[in-house]
Amino acid sequence: MEGVLQLQSQLADYTTSLYNEKEFLDEQFTQLQQLQDESNPEFVVEVVSLFFEDSERLLNELTKALDQQSVDFKKVDAHVHQFKGSSSSIGAQRVQNACISFRNNCDQQNIEGCLESLQQVKHEYSLVKNKLETLFKLEQRLLKAGG
C-alpha cells in the first residue's frame, strides 16, 4: 500500500503535469476545486461527471449531424458552441481550443475541415477524460490511505 506522502506527491506531480506540461487543464479547473467545500464535498467529481455525460451526448449529435447528406452547419455550430462552453467551464483547455478551430471550419462551411475538427475534438476529449479519471483515482487512493 502506497504511503500517504507518496500518493500526495504523485498526485501533485500528476496535477502539475496536467496544467503545465500538456495544458490539459487550466485555471478554471482550479476554480472548480476551490468551489468544493464541506457543504459540497464531491463537487468536482460531480461536475466532471456531468461534463462527461453531456459531452458524450454532444459528440454523438455532432457525429450524426456531420453524417447527413446536407450538413446543417448552424446546428453543428450550435453544438460545438455548447461543447466549447462546457469544456471551458471545467477548464479543459485543449478541448476548448479544438472547439474553436472547429467553429472556424463551420463558419467556412468546410465539411472536410469539420470532420477533421470533430476527430480532433473527440481525441482531445478522450485524452482529458482519461487524465481526469486518473486524477480522481489518485485522489481516491490518497483518501483511502488517509491523506
Binding site: L35, E46, D54
Partner: protein, 762 residues
Amino acid sequence: MQIEQAASFPYRKPPTESTSAHFPDKNTVTEPLRDDSREKFYERYIQKREGKLREEWGSKRAEKEAKMKANEGQIFRHPIDLLQSEDEEDLSEFAKQIPIGHDRNYASIIQTMEKMIMENDLYMEDLLELSLEALGTSTTGNGSSCKGEVVVPDQFPAGLRVLVVDDDITCLKILEQMLRRCMYHVTTCSQATVALNLLREKKGCFDVVLSDVHMPDMDGFRLLELVGLEMDLPVIMMSADGSTSAVMRGISHGACDYLIKPIREEELKNIWQHVVRKKWNENKEHEHSGSLDDNDRHKRGSDDAEYASSINEGAEGFLKTQKKRRDAKEEDDGELENDDPSAAKKPRVVWSVELHQQFVSAVNQLGIDKAVPKRILELMNVPGLTRENVASHLQKFRLYLKRLSGVAQQQGGIPTSYCGPVEQNAKLGSLGRFDIQALAASGQIPPQTLAALHAELLGRPTGNLPLMRCPSNISKQFPQTVITAEDVHSGLGAWPSNALSAVGPSSNLGGLVAQSGNILTGMLHHQPQQPRQQQQQKQKQSMLQEPSRSINVQPSCLVVPSQSSASFLAGKSPAAVNQNCSFNRSSAIDYSLLSPQSNNSSSGVGQLSNGNLKMTSVLNGYAGPASISQSVSSCSMNADNGGDRQLQNSALASSAPRQLPGLAPNMCNIQGSYSTKSGQVLDQGPLRNLGFVGKGTSIPSRFAVDEPESPMSNLNYGKIYGENYGSKVKQEPSMDFIENAKVGIPILQNLSPNDLMSVFSE
C-alpha cells in the same frame, strides 16, 4: 396605506421595555448582533423591499384574516407578543422565527424577515429593532437553536435571489455552486420556458436572472426581453461566445451585463449591483443633490473591494448622491429620450472643451494636490459656474488622472503621479459610473441625440442620425476588436482589449477602437507581457512612447458635456493619453494642455475635452504616435459630424470616465485600475465582462487574481453607464456603445481597413 396597516396592527412601535426580553445567550454568537453593518444591511436592503412586500401583503391580508377566522380556536401569537413574554418557550419560539439569527446566513435571514413582515404585518423596522434589541441585551441562554456562530457575512448582497437559466448542465451546476458561495439564494433551470413560468408564477421572488444566450427551447435574448417586459428584473446574459456582435446583441436587448464563459466566481459576486442600480433608477425620488464634497470624500475614501462588496457609508452616500444627481434624468423609468434635461431641478453645466481647458489650467496652476473646487472656481472665473459643478468635475478628473497614472506605471514611461491603486481605480470607476450616469442624466447629452441613439440601438428607424449606418460597419469591426483584446495582455494590452471591447458594443467605437487598437497594439508590444499582438505593435510602440501632446479632441469625439467624464475619458487611458495627445490635431478642441510626461499631462489629458477626451483618450491609450494621427483624423471626422457626434462623445465620455474614454467603459477602468497589475488582468476584467475576451481560460491566471473586484467594477462601470445612460436602464449600455460607435465610424472611414483590422487580428 401605511396608516391603514398601522391601524390594524397595534404594534407599530415596539415598546421600550422589550430590552428585558430574554434571548438566546449572546455568547453563542460570534459577532455582536448589533454591529452597524448588520443593521445597515437590513435597513438598506430590506427596507427597499418592504414597500413591495407591503403591496403583496395587502392582497394576502384578506386571505389571512379569513383563515384566522376559520381557525378560531387557534391563538395567534404575534411575534412581538412572544418577544415581550417572559415565558421561555415563547421566547424560543420568537427566536426561531426571528431571522436575525444565530446560525443562519443573510440569505435565509432576509427570507425569514420578509416572510414575517408579510405574514404578521410587521414593519421591518419594528422587526429589526425588536430583534436587535432583544439579541443585543440577552443574557440568558435559551432554547433557541443557535449554533453559536453567525454565518452571516458582512456583506450586503448576501441573500440576493438569483435565477440561473442554462441548458448546459455542467455550467449550471458550476454556477449554482459559485453563487451559493457568494451567499446568494440560487434557483437553477435548464429550460427557458420553465424559467419563464417560474418567474411568472412567483413574481417578486427573484432579484436577478442569469441566462445563457444559446438555448434550445428559446433564444436567450427572447427570454431577456420577456423578463424585462413582464417582470422588469435585471437580466445578465452569459455565453461562451464573446464576440462583439454577440455582446452588442445582448446589450441592445437590454441585458444588464454580459458575461463570457467560463465565468469566474468574482464576476458573480458583483451581480448585485444591477439589482441595486435598477432599484435606484426606479425610485422617483427627487432629492436635492448632496454636497459634492462629501461625495468626493467618499469616493476617494472607499476602497474598491469595500465598495463592491459592502455598502459602507461612503459608497452609499456617494451612490445616493449620484442617484440624486440623476433626478432630472430619471423622470420616468429613466427614459432619457423623453426627458428634457431642462426638467432638471438645477441648471446643468456643459463642460465644453474650452471650459474644460480652463478648468485644467486652473488645476495646473494650483497644483493637482491643492486644487480645491473653490479656488478652481475662482481661477476659472466663469460666470454661472458653481462650486458644485467644479467639484464634481474635479472628482472625475481626479479619477481620470488616477487611471492615467495607473497605466503610466505599467508602461513605465508615463508619469505616474496619478497612479492609483487598482482598487481605487476600480472603485473610482464604479463611482464614475454613477457620475457618468448622472452626467448623462443631467442632460448633458442632448435628449434628442440620446433618444436617437437609443432608438437606433433598439433598431428603430431614426432617420436623422447619419451615424446610424455605422452599426453595420462596426459589427465587422467588432470581431476583430475582440480578438485583439484577447491578445492584448500587456499592461497596455489591457487597453486595446478594452478598446476592443469597448468597440465591440458600440459600432462606432469599433472604428475608434480599431484605430486605437492599432495604437494599442503598438503599445502592447511595448509591454510584452503577452506576446499576443501583432507586428504593428512595434510601430505603435513608438507611438506609445510619445508624451501626450496636445490632444485635439474633436468635439464629435465623445464630447460629452459630462463634466468629468470627458476629462476622465481622456485621461483614462493611462499612458496612452499622454502619448496620444496628438490625436486631436484638427479638432476644435485643442488640448494642448496635455503635456506628456508631466503631471500636467494628466490634466492635459483631462482637458482633452469632454467629448474628445473621451475619444482621444481612448485612442491615446492605445495608439502610439502613429495611430494618433489616425485617431486624430478620426476624431476630426467626428467633429464634422457635429451634433450626433457630440452626443456620442458625451455618451462615450460620460460612460467612459471610468473606462477608456469613449471606447469602452472598461477600457478606462481597466487601464486605470489595472495598471498595477499585469495587463492581462486589466484586459481580462473588462474584456471579460464585456465579453470581448474570448478566452476566459487563458486569461484567468493573469486576470485579476489579486483584485477580482476591480475588473468587475470596471466592467460594471461600463455597463452601468450603459444602464443609466439610455432611456431605459437596460438600454443604457447600448446607448453608450452606440454613441461611441457613432464616433468611431467616422474614424473608421479614415483609417484604412487594414489598419483597423490588423489591430484586432491576432
